[in-house]
Amino acid sequence: MNKNIIKKGLTEKIIKEISSFKEEPSWMLEFRLKSFEIFKSKPMPSFGPSLKDLDFDSINYYIRPQDKTHTKWEDVPKNIKETFDHLGVPESERGFLAGTGAQFESEMVYHSLKEHLIDQGIIFESIENGLKNHEELFKKYFGKIVPASDNKFSALNSAVWSGGSFIYIPKGIKLDMPLQAYFRMNSENLGQFERTLIITDEDSFLHYIEGCTAPVYTTDSLHSAVVEIIAHENSRMEYTTLQNWSKNVYNLVTKRAFVKKNAEMYWLDVNLGSKITMKYPAIYLMGEKAKGEIQSLAFAEKGQNIDAGAKIFHIAKKTSSLVLSKSISKNGGISTYRGITKISEDANFSKSKTTCDALILDNTSISNTYPTNDIRTNSANFEHEAKVSRINDEKLHYLKSRGINEKEANTMMINGFADPITKKLPMEYAVELNRLIELYLK
């Protein structure tokens, strides 16, 4: 395998090398270098889990497993293909997906879209090919939804981004099968900085699914992605994440969607793995009657600190939003909901509801809830509720009295708790998630 590794640590020279490998236009190199300066000047987040052990100098910022992105699995190097075979990616693609992308280390090794969809004008390419083949469209939106200056990790991603998907759904096209991207970090001390840019044009529909895994190492890796979405008028965008990183991965992600008039954005976010996750998908409701929904499920066990949440900004009038966050902590795991809902002065007649449910399975675990509700108009209706509890003893007793042992009863209760989220997943993923929940409870 032709594998290019740039030496550990981050310097201007490394950024120039990454840009050179990718044969980028000069404006992109300038963007990267400017972002690097922002990264150096920005402080670490002042909230959330401690990141003091994250050593930026011990990370490989770029590993190129092969020279180009293939469109046929047969052309993908054998050892990489075997990894994705093992994860069932090609099988899923044949079964129920309109297109698949697979990222291994820092690059997309595979990207394919069904031919009749290409004919309809749908673009589903690696982010690098998006820049090469559709520069004008790319430049119009890239870095506009999540600017490099947003936070330290968006600046880092903007400096060293590599891999990810570029998607454009043309006007009036409703894709009835999902597109999927799969992200795999196989090397030790790797930094994966994929960048995803999705544009759903007017009256279109897309469901995009991303899955993430990595093998376990004794040293830490960093996953710091940026996802930018723009949902144009009357379109609907659904974005599903199933994150099952190994417990040595820092998962520090910035995801944001701009939602125009009458458009809808739906995030579904399931977080099972990682050492530390800091992820707060954001929706900006910018056009009248725009809708946003964020549903998330997090599992935290020993050594894990899952700090996740949702940000909703009602900017235009008659907008509506819904947030449902569920978390389960056990064996000393820490799960935190951190979110903000802001209804601005102009967002008259808007509606919003946030619900946070947390389950704590033992007295060594921790659950925190830090919502911020900022309501600046009296014509809006806003509701927030949060609840933290353990498994209901009475329900457990009832199940046991029906001959179900305690372990099974607990599993049933937790599956029931997670059910409002799992039932929103495509069938294949819901089955897999239920299996993972059983493993989590073992």
Binding site: I360, T369, T372, N373, D374, I375, H384, E385, A386, V388
Partner: protein, 202 residues
């Protein structure tokens, strides 16, 4: 509520609950000023519980900043906090609420409920209700709801020849008086109702 203590406009309040069945509180805030309020509620001994009702009415140019800390330091403690707020004109309310439950505690119940009426387009409210829970045998909840006066109710009352000002006054009274029903002595209820009526800036 038995043993109810009524307090008006306390800036700083520290309550340490150390005995069984301690008093409950009704706290009225009716100031039209810029002010900061810091309330610390410590549940230090087992089997202590309390209910605290906050009635907040404020109006023009007021900026009220509340910092509330509820600390469960002992097992079998419960606290029920309820905030009923009516903001008139350009009133601005900032609320930071924190419920903390220490490690290895049992049978903890804590509730923090906010119900807010915003009378004017210019009134605004920012709320940060934080929960930090370090034990598993808990029932903790927080609820927050914000809205305007019900338009249908206003329309109905207008059709009965009441002015908009009178209607808003009556709806404010109904919103706040509801919390006093059957819970306190007649004399105290009468006094609180009178204080509320005098506080409505319309």
């Amino acid at each position: 509520m038995k043993n109810t203590i009524y307090i008006k406009n306390p800036d700083d309040l520290k309550l340490n609950f150390i005995k069984k069945n301690e008093a409950n509180f009704i706290i009225l805030i009716n100031e039209n000023i810029e002010n900061k309020y810091k309330y610390t509620l410590n549940l230090n001994k087992e089997n202590t519980s309390s209910k605290i009702l906050f009635l907040i009415i404020t109006g023009e140019n007021s900026k009220l900043d509340f910092n509330i800390f509820v600390n469960h330091f002992a097992s079998k403690t419960s606290l029920d906090l309820k905030f009923k707020t009516v903001l008139f004109k350009n009133a601005h309310l900032n609320f930071n609420g924190n419920i903390f439950v220490e490690k290895n505690l049992k049978k903890i119940k804590s509730s923090m409920i906010h119900q807010n009426l915003l009378e004017s387009k210019e009134s605004k409210i920012i709320s940060k209700p934080n929960l930090e829970i370090n034990s598993d045998e808990v029932e903790i909840n927080h609820g927050f709801a914000t809205g305007n006066f019900n338009k249908e109710e206003i329309y109905y009352l207008q059709s009965r020849n009441l002015s908009k000002k009178t209607i808003k006054k009556e709806l404010t009274k109904a919103f706040l008086f509801k919390e006093l029903e059957g819970k306190i002595s007649k004399e105290l209820k009468k006094q609180i109702k009178q204080d509320i009526i005098c506080s409505i800036p319309l």
